[in-house]
């Protein structure tokens, strides 16, 4: 086992409110376009907070090759599988497999890992039980008698939190190490970090990484609203008017490959995954440390571990979810990290909303696009930077990539005081 194995990104995909693929999502970001609007999937006309990021062109029959599969999975699963398939197609990695002999193909599958960030169960998946509850109320004997006529026999399978992992595995014959992270908004980023770790440790040669979520479902909106976490207006990261986030649905995916695997097939590389870390602040399910000590430590340790300094960073993609406390604490941690260094900081959720479990991988996909284009997209709705965030080098305009710098840092945060970050380096 080598501790120095290098890992590269060779494919990416995305399904978001601003585009049904990574390129469309990137172009919308670059053009300063938003995909946020009032909920269309459900009738919430009387609700005070209706703004979400919904997919504009959700056509599952065209997104998946197997129509029979649609009866066995949920909407969120469709997005996750679709993003995964995009990343696979972009990398052309299975075209390479198909050229191998049978024994080599077997090895290829066994050395291919699959790491997914999953939202777990959603409220809407349990609404299938409402008709039987209508009959039974709390009487379990009546409930049991109506169960088989009212609820689909495959309900459990349609609701499995690991459906994306399972069906992508079956679709591509992936048989290597796998994990399905269910850790709220850092799930996708943790999937990326562990896939990277698996390749570094020699447990896999290649990995498909997916993050997906159905953030914008009504009952979740209801509770986020009650907790004061939603903005009724706009998602405005680090802006003086930031007053909450906008929940969104979406998915994103990456293909990672070891240096050896890349060389075997002369694959195109978007960037190298240098590494990252994750840790909790231990402030409760909805708590955030106002001093951001844990986040500061995480970011500093990550750079130190890889012999990097803030001067090496061309860009930082902040979590920037638009909620006041999250933005302010993130700004505090970044100010401490940068210590006066004028590194450009940006954030992307203002465009397509907060895709929760998908957000870490999605920010990585968009960061990779920025790295390719040698530019730093701005926060298009940034009007006046919040006073507590004024130390950050933010812009509403697209900026040039910092000359001579090859690294970017991406930050991801979630409930349970979770923080995660990853560093990527441009390919030479």
């Amino acid at each position: 086992m080598s501790q120095t194995r290098r890992v590269f990104v060779t494919g990416m995909g995305a399904v978001t409110a601003t585009g049904m693929n990574a390129e469309a999502t990137w172009q919308a970001l670059l053009a300063g376009q938003q995909g946020l609007g009032n909920v269309k999937l459900w009738d919430l006309a009387t609700w005070s907070h209706q703004k979400v990021g919904e997919l504009q062109d959700f056509q599952p029959a065209t997104m998946l090759p197997d129509r029979k599969l649609l009866k066995l999975i949920s909407r969120q699963d469709v997005t996750g599988i679709s993003a995964g398939m995009q990343a696979v197609a972009d990398s052309q990695v299975f075209a390479y497999r198909d050229q191998l002999d049978i024994a080599q193909q077997t090895t290829f599958g066994e050395e291919f890992a699959l790491y997914v960030g999953s939202p777990g169960n959603k409220y809407c998946q349990q609404y299938d039980f409402l008709p039987v509850i209508k009959h039974s109320q709390a009487d379990m004997q009546i409930f049991a008698k109506h169960l088989f006529s009212e609820v689909h026999p495959m309900w459990l399978l349609r609701s499995l939190p690991n459906n994306v992992l399972a069906y992508l595995g079956i679709t591509y014959g992936i048989k290597g190490s796998n994990h399905n992270f269910t850790n709220h908004a850092v799930s996708g980023m943790q999937a990326l970090l562990e896939a990277h770790a698996a390749i570094v440790a020699g447990k896999a040669q290649r990995a498909l990484v997916v993050g997906y979520d159905l953030g914008a479902e009504p009952q979740a909106l209801f509770y986020y609203d009650k907790l004061g976490l939603l903005s009724a207006q706009d998602l405005k990261p680090f802006d003086a008017q930031h007053d909450g986030t906008i929940l969104a649905e979406g998915a994103s995916a990456l293909i990672l490959e070891s240096e050896e695997a890349v060389q075997q097939r002369s694959a195109r590389c978007y960037a190298e995954v240098v590494g990252g870390r994750t840790a909790t602040e231990a402030k409760g399910l909805f708590g955030i440390d106002p001093q951001a000590i844990a986040l500061q430590t995480l970011l500093k340790q990550t750079l130190e571990h890889h012999n990097l300094t803030p001067q090496d960073l061309a860009m930082i993609i902040a979590h920037g979810n638009g909620s006041h406390l999250s933005d302010v604490t993130e700004a505090r941690a970044l100010s401490s990290l940068l210590a006066g260094e004028n590194t450009p900081v940006t954030a992307f959720k203002w465009s397509m909303g907060h895709t929760l479990c998908a957000s870490g991988v999605l920010d990585t996909v968009l960061g990779l696009s920025a790295m390719q284009a040698r530019c730093i997209p701005g926060i298009a709705n940034l009007n006046a930077v919040a006073q507590e965030c004024s130390n950050l080098n933010l812009s509403r305009m697209t900026r040039d990539w910092s000359a001579g710098k090859d690294h970017m840092l991406i930050i991801n945060r979630g409930f349970a005081g979770m923080n995660a970050c990853v560093v990527l380096r441009a390919c030479a």
Binding site: F222, T278, A279, E281
Partner: protein
């Protein structure tokens, strides 16, 4: 760089056989069954109305704090099992040089669905005819809103409770791959220590699907035995016809071997290897030839640098379903050849039922206890040998046997496979 070894220095469990390690192990060795008619709700009209429930559970009083006020039943199991494990390991964060930032947690968690009462209130509020009128939820929001409805089913709420209860500030995550969840959680925790991202990890799982929705989901699928007898869970038996739900939690304290030795900790066993694979076959079925599970076993052996000849006992996944038990048997045969017939293989699910996301952790803990006590658990209720399942399933009762290397298998819906390999702390003479 030499890979860091991983010691197991603490165990805790809340199981259908007992609410701590000692009582669960004693009952397991005494051939007792945790399976009985369901008590938590009236299940009498369900096709299956028995399960292996946790009995007379009261969480340790130290856990009853405002931080845990929204914990679900199964999260309470997890908190209590974790507390047992921490006490057993004699570790307190912040003391004796145990840094909170170097302590992590990985939990294999269940589906975290809404509880019945919550959905019933939702139906009464805005879906009186079974169809949802969202305007009604807005109109009655003050009456309907309960913070617990959001906090309890939040996907990482159980993880958050563990983090806050023990003051953990290091690596933290929760994973779900159905019945492989907590086996994979242990494997991931081992990797986190190996690569140096933590010195201590609390790892395990908690789950209960013994609820109206959980029981319904498996009844609809036809996955449960409908015998409704004490012998309904009979892995590897010719007449097996489905599994029996169980509930509970188990946590293990994993520790950098060097740290454990330096502080003079009791080391139950070494978590020396993991095989983590995907079958990529079907969602609910395992390949009849054992593919997927076979590679998990082979990887665990390779990861731990042992040979098939070293393995002394296999704690099987052994669910009591037709396909799983056949597939697992064939995987063992493929991995071990003729030696497969001489390795004791048992399924403790015959006595505990199937703890779903918590199964892997409970069975890992039983595997460690088997090493510690030099005793092999039995497969209960196996009375009609299946010609296709013809290994040594330890049917005569628990037996005494010195164990150097033990495997614990967990396989989940969706095709995820986990095989954990435990070594006696003095295996190979290396201490």
């Amino acid at each position: 760089m030499t890979e860091r070894r991983v010691a197991i220095t603490g165990l805790g469990m809340v199981s259908p056989l007992g609410n701590n390690v000692a009582s669960s192990w004693t009952q397991l060795m005494a051939r007792q069954s945790g399976i009985a008619p369901i008590q938590q709700f009236d299940a009498s009209e369900f096709p299956t109305h028995i399960a292996a429930e946790v009995k007379a559970f009261q969480p340790d009083p130290i856990l009853v704090t405002k931080h845990n006020r929204f914990a679900s039943r199964f999260v309470w199991f997890g908190l209590d099992a974790a507390l047992q494990a921490m006490r057993d390991a004699q570790i307190t964060l912040g003391k004796d040089g145990v840094l909170a930032q170097r302590f992590g947690v990985v939990a294999g968690t269940g589906m975290m669905t809404l509880d019945f009462d919550s959905l019933l209130r939702f139906q009464q509020t805005c879906a009186e005819d079974g169809k949802i009128d969202w305007s009604q939820l807005a109109n009655k929001s003050q009456d309907f809103y309960q913070f617990a409805d959001f906090a309890k089913p939040m996907v990482n709420s159980g993880l958050s409770s563990l983090i806050q209860q023990f003051g953990i500030e290091g690596y933290a995550t929760s994973v779900h791959t159905a019945c492989a969840s907590s086996g994979q959680a242990l494997g991931l925790a081992m990797e986190v220590i190996r690569r140096g991202d933590a010195d201590y990890m609390l790892a395990g799982g908690f789950d209960s699907m013994i609820s109206p929705f959980g029981l319904s989901s498996f009844c609809l699928l036809g996955a449960l035995s409908t015998d409704n007898t004490a012998s309904a869970s009979r892995p590897f038996d010719l007449t097996r016809n489905g599994f029996i739900l169980g509930e509970g939690a188990a946590f293990l304290v994993l520790e950098n071997w060097a740290h454990a030795k330096a502080r003079g900790a009791r080391i139950y066993a070494e978590l020396a290897g993991e095989g983590n694979t995907l079958s990529s076959y079907r969602i609910t079925d395992s390949p009849p030839d054992g593919n997927g599970a076979l590679q998990a076993i082979e990887r665990a052996l390779k990861d731990a640098n042992v040979t098939p000849a070293d393995v002394d006992y296999i704690n099987a996944h052994g669910t009591s379903t037709k396909m799983n038990d056949l597939s697992e048997t064939n995987a063992i045969k493929a991995a071990f050849g003729k030696r497969a017939y001489h390795i004791p293989v048992s399924s403790t699910k015959s006595q505990t039922g199937h703890l779903i996301a918590a199964a892997g952790a409970l069975e890992a803990a039983f595997s460690v206890l088997a090493i510690h006590h030099a005793r092999v658990p039995m497969t209960a209720n196996l009375q009609h040998p299946d010609p296709e399942c013809d290994l040594d399933y330890v049917t005569d009762g628990p037996c005494e046997r010195s164990l150097g290397v033990v495997l614990s298998n967990s396989f989940g819906f969706g095709g995820s496979n986990s095989c954990l390999l435990f070594k006696h702390p003095e295996f190979g003479g290396a201490v």
